[in-house]
Symmetry: C2
Subunit: 415 residues, 2 copies
C-alpha cells in the first residue's frame, strides 16, 4: 500500500495579484513540486494585502488541509502582512529573533549598505516556527506544525521562493508522505485528432490505475500525460516505461515526443544527428517555421536559409517559381508549394527544402480557396512530396497549425 | 462624490483547474470587466469538484463580499456540483424548472439530437434566482440576491461565460454601482528604460488621483496604464485624454501606442497609410520580425519578402553581402547589417529594407562579440542607418528585443 495522499492549499498574497493582467504563477510551480511528492492541491486562494480576509483564509486552510503554503507578503513594508496575520490566525506569539536580525543586517553589510530600520520587521518569527534561510533575498521563510498541519510561509519572488522550497520545505514534506515519488511524463502526438487518439489508446490506459492517463488538446498537438506513483523513483519510471511502450505500439510514429519536447526540438535533433541541412520557403506562415526552427540553440548547424515569399514576385524572383504555375494554379496550390520547396532547396543547396503556401485569413478566402486551405511540400534530391490541408481556427491558429504540419512532414521523412 | 466601491470575489470551480499546467483565466477577464464598472476584486479561489470545500468557499464569500461570481461546474455530469452546493450553502431550495428544461430540450432538438437524460440536471434552479440564458451552450447561468450580496453562477467555457456576463450580469451589477464608469488606457513605450520613464513622468502623474497611473515593464516594452473613474464614459475619457496628452508632451515619440496596440500593428498602419513597402533580412532573429509583421491581417499590402540568412553563404547569395565585408568585419557588424538591409531592399525592390544580425546565444559569444550584441539597420533609397545594441536576457528575450528595436527604428523613420 502506498502512503495516504496528503492534501494541500496554497494562498498567494498581494493586492497586485488581483489585477486583471496578473496571474499567481507561483502556485503552478508549487503544485508541480507538491504533486511530485504525492501531495494533492485541493484549493488555491489569491488574497490582497487585506488583514481580515487573509486571517480567515489561513484559519480555514489549516482546518481543512494537512499542508498550507503561503507565498508573498514577507517584504519589509507596511503592506507586507503575512507574518503578523499568520501569527494571529494561528493564535501564536510573534517575536523579534535576534539571530535572524543579525543575518539580515549582515546581508545588507555584504552589499556595503546599512540595513534600513524597516527591514527589522523581516526578523519577526512566529513562536515554534523553523526559520528557512533565504540566500537570494532578505525575507526568511517560516515552517511550523500546527494541529497536525504543516504551515509554510514563503517569499513571493520566484527566485527566492523556489530554492527555499526545494532545499528546506520539500525534504520536510517528503518525510510526511513516506517519501512517495510521483513522476509525470508527457507524450506528444501530431497528425491525429483527439478522439482518434483516445479511441486507439483507451483500451490500453483504462487497464491501469497507476500510471494515471490524461489526454489534453492544445492548438494542433495532443498531449498524453502519464502520472505514476512509486516507492522509489525507479519504480515510478518503470511504470511509465511500460505504459509508454504500449502506447507507442498503438500510435507508432504519430507520437513525436516522449519527454515533452517541442516539435522543432525533435526535428532539430534528427537533422543534427543525420548531418542534414534545411531551408524553408514560407508564404502564409510568414516566417513562423524559420522562427520555430531557429528558436532551438545550435540550429545554425542545420538551418541555412529561410525565405518569406509573400508576394508572387518574391516567389518567382527568389524561389524561381515559374510565373506560368502561379497563373495556372494560383499561389495557393500543390504545384506552387512543390516549386517553392524545390526552389529554396536549390537556392540554399540543402538536403531538404520545406514550403508552405495557404490562406490564413481573416480575408482573402474564396469559394474555391477558402480560409484555412494550406499546401505544404518537402523536397529532397530524390523526391518532392506535398500535402493539402484544411485547417480550422483563426489566423494565428491556422499559421501555427500549418507550421506544425510542415515540421511534422519533415520529421516523418527523417525517421 | 462617486458611488462607493463594491467588493467582489470570484470562485473558479473544477478539479482540472488545480493541475500544475492550468490557469483560471476566466477570473482575469471577469476582473477586467468588473473593474470597468467600478467593482474591485478582493479575493479569488480555485476549488476542485469538492462539495465541502466549495460550500465553505461560497458561504465565506457571501459573508464578506457584495458580489460573488462562480465559474464552472454547471455541466450535466456528476462532477458538476455548483448548482447543488450553492443551493445548500445559501440554504435555498433547488427545483426543476420546466421552462428551462424545455429550452434545453429544444436546443438539442435544433441539432437533431434527443436530449440525454442527464442534461435535465442543468434545468435545476435555485429558489429566487433569475435564469440567465445561454445561447452558446446548454448550461444556463443563475443570478440571485442573498443577504445584500449578488451571487452569480456562470458556466466555465469562455465562449459561454463571456456573452452571458456582458448581456445579463454587467447591466444588473452596473445598477448597483450607480453606473460608475471606469476606463483603462494603455500607453506603450519603446527605446527607454523603466526608471528613465518614471523619472520623466512621475512629476506629472503623481499630481492626479484620478486617473491612477501604473508603470509595468514587460520584455522590452514599458506599459503605462491609466485608470479613470467617471460618472459617464465621456467624463472618464476626458480625464484619460488630458493625462495622456501631458505624458506625450514629456515622452514624445517614445510612446508608440496610445490604445495598447502592438508595435507591429503601429508599424503596419504607418506603412499602409504611407503606401510604403518593406522587406526584411534577418540573422539572429530567425524570422521573428517577418512573423510579427505578417501576424497583422492585411500585411500582404506592404510586406513583400523576408529572408532568414543564417549562414554566411546565404547572406552573400541572397542578400548580396560582399564576402570581403564578412571577412573583415564578421557577420555581426554594422557593415554587414547595413549591407543586409541594402541587399534585401534591392532584391525585393521595396521602399524600405530592415535587417538584424547579432549573437542571441546561449553559445557563440566571444569577448569581442558577446551574447547580446546586435546590429540593426534600415535602408531606404536616400539613407541607410544602423544601431548597435547590447541586449540583456536569454536567447528568446534577446531575439524579441532585437525584433522590437528593429521595428522601432522603422517606426521612427515613418513618423
Amino acid at each position: 500500500m502506498l502512503a495516504q495522499t496528503l492534501t494541500a492549499e496554497i494562498i498567494a498574497i498581494g493586492s497586485e495579484l488581483l489585477a486583471p493582467d496578473r496571474m499567481d504563477t507561483n502556485s503552478l510551480w508549487l503544485t508541480d513540486k507538491l504533486n511530485g511528492i504525492g501531495i494533492e492541491v485541493r484549493l488555491k486562494t489569491v488574497v490582497g494585502d487585506d488583514d481580515s480576509r487573509l486571517e480567515e483564509a489561513i484559519k480555514d486552510a489549516v482546518k481543512r488541509s494537512k499542508v498550507v503554503i503561503t507565498t508573498g507578503g514577507l517584504g519589509p513594508t507596511e503592506d507586507d502582512i503575512t507574518r503578523k496575520v499568520a501569527a494571529r490566525a494561528l493564535n501564536r506569539r510573534l517575536f523579534l529573533d535576534e539571530a535572524v536580525l543579525e543575518e539580515i543586517r549582515a546581508r545588507f553589510q555584504s552589499f556595503g549598505v546599512t540595513m534600513p530600520e524597516r527591514n527589522s520587521r523581516q526578523a519577526m518569527v512566529i513562536d515554534g516556527a523553523a526559520v528557512l534561510p533565504n540566500p537570494n533575498g532578505t525575507a526568511p521563510g517560516l515552517f511550523l506544525e500546527h494541529d497536525g498541519a504543516a504551515v509554510v510561509l514563503l517569499p513571493g519572488p520566484p527566485k527566492e521562493m523556489r530554492p527555499m522550497f526545494e532545499n528546506h520545505v520539500q525534504p520536510r514534506l517528503a518525510d510526511k508522505t513516506g517519501n512517495l515519488r510521483v513522476l509525470r511524463r508527457v507524450l506528444r502526438v501530431a497528425g491525429m485528432g483527439e478522439s482518434a487518439v483516445d479511441e486507439k489508446i483507451a483500451p490500453i490506459y483504462t487497464r491501469y490505475e497507476n500510471p494515471q492517463t490524461t489526454i489534453l488538446f492544445n492548438k494542433s498537438e495532443i498531449e498524453i500525460q502519464l502520472t505514476a506513483r512509486g516507492r522509489t523513483e525507479a519504480d515510478a519510471e518503470a511504470l511509465l516505461d511500460k505504459l509508454s511502450e504500449e502506447l507507442e505500439e498503438r500510435l507508432g510514429h504519430s507520437i513525436f515526443a516522449f519527454r515533452g519536447e517541442k516539435m522543432e526540438e525533435v526535428v532539430g535533433l534528427r537533422l543534427s544527428v543525420g548531418g542534414y541541412t534545411i531551408a524553408v520557403a514560407e508564404s502564409c506562415t510568414g516566417g513562423l517555421i524559420a522562427q520555430r526552427l531557429t528558436d532551438v540553440p545550435g540550429s545554425s548547424r542545420y538551418f541555412i536559409e529561410g525565405v518569406v515569399a509573400y508576394s508572387n514576385e518574391a516567389k518567382t524572383r527568389t524561389l524561381g517559381v515559374e510565373p506560368v504555375l502561379l497563373l495556372e494554379h494560383g499561389a495557393v496550390s500543390a504545384a506552387v508549394a512543390k516549386a517553392m520547396a524545390d526552389g529554396i532547396r536549390r537556392r540554399a543547396d540543402t538536403d531538404f527544402g520545406l514550403s508552405v503556401t495557404g490562406v490564413a485569413g481573416p480575408s482573402g478566402g474564396t469559394e474555391e480557396k477558402p480560409v484555412g486551405l494550406v499546401f505544404i511540400a518537402l523536397a529532397s534530391e530524390a523526391l518532392t512530396e506535398h500535402r493539402k490541408l484544411m485547417l480550422p481556427g483563426d489566423r494565428q491558429l491556422i499559421r501555427w497549425r500549418a507550421s506544425q504540419a510542415a515540421l511534422d512532414l519533415l520529421r516523418r521523412r527523417l525517421i
